[in-house]
Amino acid sequence: MSGSGEPKIRIRGLHKAFGAKSVLRGVDLDIGAGESMVVIGGSGTGKSVTVKCALGIVEPDRGSILIDGVESVGLKGAAREAVNARMGMLFQGGALFDSLSVWENVAFGLVAAGQRTRREAKPVAVETLAQVGLGPEVAELMPAELSGGMQKRVALARAIAARPDIIFFDEPTTGLDPIMADVINDLIVECVRKLGATALSITHDMASARKIADRIAMLHEGRIVWSGAVADIDASGNEFVDQFIHGRASGPIRMAVRG
């Protein structure tokens, strides 16, 4: 939490349904400035929808998302673009633009926001790639020529290229081997610390959560059922958290066989 007591991101009473399926049922969450919050939870509990609501990709049915005290729900056009220009997002599958080269992907946000011309943006992209451990020879490659781990690094570079003060990470280690997952976790911690950014990550990988989180919140059936410091999670006293972090099939969480 920031020193002033005002959270960087304040989510209150967030509701979202898709047809008859109610995904978010009143999410409340505070994330302080410079804090790394990780939201854990099973598949289909609304983690991705929460982040997409914060980014304006999904319009919530009701509820509030305050960013630096300013309401972001319902913003359109230039107002939404101005808010999003301060945010970075690492998508689960990378979501790299496959018709653009690696450096064009990394520089995309800089050029789109008018911060840099294409010519100016290229060295910034190469420098940002270096921050995630990729050499300049990678810059001219196309995303399809990269391994999964390299694609994740490029996606991370794209997320941090514009020096955002809020970064979202959607399942950053999904699909990676344990060693590459740990490399990505280290990069996330390092990049967030260097930028002094506020981070909201969603994952069901507990090793990743323990590594990158200052605080952890657990989302279950569209509500936050527990939140606390990462050091407290093993003694949370919450039966949902206990079942989830130990990966037990028996317990209060019943996994839906069908979506």
Binding site: I57, N84, A85, G88, F91, A95, L96, F97, D98, G109
Partner: protein
Amino acid sequence: MNPLAAIGRAFLALLEAIGRLVLFAFAAVTHIVRPPFYPRILLRQMVDIGYYSLPVVALTTLFSGMVLALQSHTGFARFSAEGAVAGVVSLAITRELAPVLAGLMVAGRVGASMAAEIGTMRVTEQIDALSTLSTDPMKFLVAPRILAGFAMLPLLVLVGDVIGIFGGYIVGIYKLDFGAAAYIDQTWRFVETIDVVSGLVKAAVFGFLVTLMGCYHGYRSEGGAQGVGRAATNAVVSSAILILVFNYIITELFFAK
């Protein structure tokens, strides 16, 4: 199940689909005229739609002109009116065949690939990524494609007009034993400006429709690879139907007495 209720539901679903498409088209058109503009993407789309469709449109109109000359000669010979072949070929090519065939060919070649490309971007979250990078996907993906289709189809049809008439000329001269000068003279005397202009107007409308349907179905695709495949199929089928419907409407507007 109440059959009336089922009919009502289907009718409401149809109205809803039409409403969604009209709103999408309106949003796309407004994005075409409002900055920021993406000239590099527009140029790439113009090359893809115009230049790379040239061979298929040229071949289609060439052979259509040739077969039209042959068939019309067979028909007109019964009334000793073989002299009308050149005029009929040029009228049919400029008014109908070049715009409709070019529209259908571009629908198959470009509409399907647009739907597949944008659909893949949708299911791999690339469209969401655009939104997070200060870029409106409608402006970046849809507007340049629709503008390129609207601008390039008339150029393709103009080329198709020339090649189609040339196809009829080849058959007329080398197979039906017309004199070259007489054939060309007949063509000039029959074709009026309005014939060519109506074909070009049709082409512009078809270009708009084909790219609109490609973008619309791609943009709304969901459900992974199967959804992308369905989007490509829907784009081609709906484009083809709309081309034929609007072909009649525009013909009626131009030529109905």
